[in-house]
Symmetry: C2
Subunit: 250 residues, 2 copies
DNA sequence: CGATCGCTTGAGCAAAATCAAACCTCGTGG
DNA sequence: CCACGAGGTTTGATTTTGCTCAAGCGATCG
């Protein structure tokens, strides 16, 4: 089955055995199992750990005083949150599991020791950080400019590609344990409207989404509707070609 | 008048003379003057420089195929764009001046030499990066959950505080050379609606905004309306107290 | 002095929110 | 084994927010 963190970072550069072993140690030493909806990090806390998502699905979120909630990022297996966050005094957002989720909570010292020892790993982690920044920018574009239907299509394209990059897709299917309320909080639309939007995508034969399983029946058409441009995922190396192939309409 | 980049970084930690001198050199060696609306970086290009904004105002933006444009970040004097971006093969967004703007375009090698020599500066630059990530997350929350009026109020609070952090405010006034169209593209609302939104804020006596000058007449009330929580700006050290004071309603 | 750019206003319209209720599926306990 | 309840999904009716279209206004600049 392998380690999703290693699979993810190898999209940036191939790792040697020592680097893989070091990562592998991290991801076995500090494992914590989270129940669905369980919080991992709370806004206001001082940052303590670098969190690696091994399995399941988690999110970053922010809340307004009046209870409105916005999911600002999803984490899928292989994702690494906040490589340098200890610099800050207090977290400005929270992190929670969405489904049953396994994470590794790596203490600051341990993480710093790793990057001191492996400069190439440091570069790979930088790449990971830059990709997450790019995703945040794409979300701003997505929520700011696209219609609800386009937004949904774009998010589904993104998540499908990200899961594919860590081998978590099976053909056109992948596990995506989000509720319609989660999707609404990520896209800035109401749950009711999420429902109607999904119905439209289903009716067009583009996707099916039921019981936590997403199937993308026509990725080129979905990407087209979404004006999805995968450049922001920075899947360089071989993968870029794979992406182009997947999205090709003809 | 001093150097806004130094002023900005000193919000994180005090710099010694050698560090300031090194930064000062950077910001005099590679200066480029941009006309209003002139592009500095284009999506698709390989990254070449670290850009420091010395004066004026710039933005990051992304475009959709059909021409819709979203501003995903504003840069005010002292801001530093993309400290580690050379790792990526191609930019996923563009950067443009908004007003007449002076930037320093620091070549990669030169920038790396700086951080190798001054570890404390590296930390300060990390802090800067983390703050910009946090701002991006806040924008997702802003656009996703807040109404047009709240959004506008929030953005104006943010910009006012950021300008204040580099001493670019004069009492309750500051230069903010944005058009209503710019505000609309940043907030994901139409220009017409920006206009009506500003009128409401003016009518409430909260702000005035004319000829590129913003005046915030009642920051506590504006912050209250916006549900503005300055924690995401991570103005640690003395400044945090200053913020609290400014926002105090009583 | 006309052209352009940015701001303003009004009217009608469309997208998405809200409210309310029903329905479905599963797990749990009587 | 079945009833019950909770969480999630679906539907319909109504309202709200913000968009679009269209036109006019007011500076500023060559």
């Amino acid at each position: 089955m392998g380690n999703p963190v290693i699979r993810r970072l190898e999209h940036f550069l191939p790792l040697d055995e020592a680097e893989k072993a070091a990562l592998s140690d991290l991801t076995t030493d500090y494992v914590r199992e989270l129940a669905p909806r369980e919080d991992l990090v709370l806004e206001g806390e001082p940052p303590r750990y670098v969190n690696l998502v091994l399995d399941g699905c988690a999110c970053r979120y922010k809340m307004l005083e009046d209870g409105r909630r916005q999911i600002v990022a999803f984490f899928v297996p292989g994702d690494l949150c906040d490589a340098r966050v200890f610099i800050l005094k207090a977290m400005d957002h929270s992190i929670a599991a969405i489904a049953q989720t396994r994470v590794a909570q790596v203490p600051a010292e341990r993480f710093i020791a790793l990057t001191d020892r492996f400069p190439r790993l440091t570069r790979a982690l930088w790449w990971n950080t830059l990709v997450h920044e790019a995703i945040a920018r794409e979300w701003i574009l997505n929520i700011g400019q696209r219609s609800a239907l386009e937004r949904m299509a774009n998010l589904l394209c993104e998540l499908f590609m990200r899961l594919r990059a860590v081998d978590m897709t099976r053909g056109e299917a992948c596990d995506l344990p989000l509720t319609q309320a989660d999707l609404g909080e990520a896209l800035g639309i109401s749950t009711v409207h999420v429902n109607r939007t999904l119905q439209t995508l289903r009716a067009e034969g583009l996707i099916s989404f039921k019981g936590g399983v997403l199937e993308v029946h026509d990725l080129p058409a979905l990407a087209d509707l979404a004006m999805f441009n995968p450049n922001y995922l920075h899947l360089e190396r071989g993968e870029a070609a794979g992406v182009a192939r997947l999205l090709a309409t003809t």
